[in-house]
């Protein structure tokens, strides 16, 4: 298990490095620079500024310096939000995004596993087909459609829940639901498929032959191997939740990282966008590692 984790970590770090370097080089390739204003600078001032910010050095040196600062948690100043560093903005937004994403992942697991179990227990019946059709629909519903729809139905028409801001727990109900639904659909499909396959394995057949009740067989014997495809989906699910959060935070006016990312992107705030991409890449790598851990826990054969 430790060897597996180490190997994964060794492939994850270069990926992270590639993301950061790629983003950095793209940023430098882009037309327009930080000192291109309405008034042309005289060459001496420009040279002095470029020297002050290290922009006169060759690209590899600049990348090295940037990486050195990133490792220390310094992403540089924001170009648009004056008086804030990118690190400040990340520190403000990240907890909100993590809470949103974490709650959504829990909700998605609860709904998805419930749906998968219900469908597999009734395999081949109308209930099975209806649940699976529901899951397909959920995966096809983008969060930027479900978000406004939930606001319309539960916020504006029924008036049950607040639709924006972050004041109380009630504020989180709609955004977390909108974020969780597509992931829940995918988890439901995977759990159903995993369970259907697991129900034909020898140890499950033995358990059934010993006269255990169908529920016990399903939950105690078939569930664990059936969770493998779900576990391997945690990485992509985390990526999906992070991307979804960008939209959901914008729709529900939540002060998270995703919203500052979109604002940064619309305002061409390069250091902010670069910093957030780096953070997101790091989070996705972390979640992929978590998926590997879960995988090893569920299936002792691959602990190695």
């Amino acid at each position: 298990m430790r060897a597996l984790l180490l190997r994964r970590l060794l492939t994850a770090l270069p990926t992270l490095l590639v993301v950061v370097i790629l983003s950095f080089v793209l940023m430098r390739l882009a037309p327009g620079g930080p000192f291109d204003g309405e008034r042309a600078l005289d060459p001496a001032t420009r040279a002095a500024l470029e020297q002050a910010y290290g922009l006169d050095r060759p690209l590899p040196v600049q990348i090295g310096r940037y990486l050195g600062r990133v490792v220390q948690g310094d992403f540089g100043p924001s170009l648009v939000y004056r008086d804030f560093t990118v690190t400040d903005l990340v520190a403000q937004g990240l907890p909100v995004s993590l809470m949103l994403g974490g709650l959504a992942l829990l909700l998605a697991l609860a709904i998805g596993l419930g749906a998968g179990l219900a469908a597999a227990a009734q395999a081949g019946t109308a209930i099975d087909r209806a649940v699976m059709l529901g899951c397909t629909l959920l995966t096809a519903l983008p969060s930027f459609v479900t978000g406004p729809l939930l606001v319309l139905v539960f916020g504006l028409w029924a008036g049950w829940l607040p639709v924006s801001g972050l004041g109380s727990a009630a504020n989180l109900v709609l955004p977390v639901t909108a974020l969780a639904l597509p992931v829940a659909g995918a988890i439901g499909k995977l759990a159903r498929a995993g369970l259907a396959a697991a129900l034909w394995q020898d140890h499950v057949r033995t358990a059934r032959a010993r006269g255990l009740s169908p529920t016990t067989v399903l939950v105690r014997h078939a569930l664990r191997p059936a969770l493998l495809p779900v576990a391997s989906y945690i990485g992509p699910a985390a990526a999906g939740l992070l991307t979804g959060a960008v939209v959901i935070e914008t729709v529900f006016a939540l002060p998270g990282l995703g919203r500052s990312f979109v604002q940064g992107a619309l305002n061409r705030d390069y250091p902010l966008v670069l910093g957030v991409v780096t953070i997101y890449a790091g989070l996705i790598v972390l979640f992929n590692l978590a998926a590997d851990l879960a995988y090893g826990w569920l299936d002792p054969r691959i602990r190695g």
């Binding site: 492939t11 994850a12 270069p14 990926t15 590639v18 993301v19 790629l22 983003s23 793209l26 940023m27 390739l29 882009a30 037309p31 397909t136 629909l137 995966t139 096809a140 519903l141 983008p142 930027f144 459609v145 978000g147 406004p148 729809l149 606001v151 319309l152 504006l156 990526a239 992070l242 991307t243 960008v246 939209v247 914008t250 729709v251 990312f261 979109v262 940064g264 992107a265 619309l266 061409r268 390069y270 966008v273 670069l274 957030v276 991409v277 997101y280 890449a281 996705i284 790598v285 992929n288």
Partner: protein, 263 residues
């Protein structure tokens, strides 16, 4: 094949409506009717009413569908070409080349793609050409994996071995025997790539980073509808429903074709 008929039929109908529909309407998608702003359905001859600046919603939905589908087909074709070429070369050459090429695909899979595409949009301006080139360039990975696996099994099939034994040059075998037999799987995964691209494009346009005004797409229409949903809820519901219908049909047609060609 039969099973995919219904979703493909619905898609064909949507495509046809999007292509010829706008020409049959008295309103252009960017024509402003100052007498009807945020009009309800059937107001002043606007079947679906008008948006916040008095543009006909039916015309905008049809044109938006057209733009969304056009971007999706273009981007998916980019992904198809890169993916098939990459997968076929890796599968055909095998050995170290295969290993190296597939490692690159594995590494790219771990990238946060949506953010890389957004980064591209931020850095190089928001043009519709870049939207589909950018999306196409990041959506080819699954296609490459599937095509490689397919080529590996084809390589061991008797007719390919026979062609080799008969002394046919490798290029002729690839062109004459491998590529034609890839068509089924490639089409199935093309159909599964298109909804991914539709999703990405609408996502970007929803955030204001994709297709730009006055041109429109389903993502922009959902965004505009969401802004005005307290006054004209149908402005959100109609483009949202079209988008979801397209996604569901493409996904289910793709899944059925994939299962049909799966061995």
């Amino acid at each position: 094949m039969k099973a995919a008929r219904l979703p493909l039929g619905i898609l064909a109908a949507i495509l046809l409506l999007a292509l010829i529909g706008p020409a049959l309407l008295p309103w252009q998608y960017d024509m402003i009717d100052w007498s009807t702003v945020r009009g309800p359905p059937f107001a002043h001859g606007h079947l679906l009413g008008t948006d916040s600046v008095g543009r006909d919603l039916l015309a905008r939905t049809l044109v938006g569908t057209r733009v969304t589908l056009a971007v999706a087909i273009a981007a998916a074709s980019v992904a198809l070409v890169i993916g098939v070429a990459w997968g076929a070369i890796a599968g055909w050459c095998g050995g170290r080349i295969d290993e190296a090429m597939m490692r690159i695909v594995d590494a790219l899979y771990a990238l946060p793609f949506m953010f890389v595409v957004i980064l591209l949009m931020v850095l190089f301006g928001r043009s519709i050409l870049l939207v589909f080139l950018g999306i196409g360039a990041v959506e080819w990975l699954t296609m490459a994996r599937v095509v490689r696996a397919e080529v590996l099994t084809l390589k061991a099939r008797p007719f390919v071995l026979a062609a080799e034994a008969a002394g046919a040059p490798p290029e002729a075998i690839v062109r004459g025997h491998i590529l034609p037999n890839l068509a089924g799987v490639a089409i199935a995964y093309l159909l599964l790539t298109i909804p991914q691209v539709v999703m990405v494009e609408s996502f970007l346009s929803f955030l204001g980073l994709g297709v730009q005004e006055p041109l429109t797409s389903l993502g922009i229409l959902v965004k505009d509808g969401a802004d005005d949903m307290d006054i004209t809820p149908h402005a959100l519901l109609v483009p949202g429903a079209v988008l979801v219908l397209i996604l569901v049909c493409l996904t289910s047609a793709g899944e059925r074709l994939r299962d049909h060609f799966a061995r």
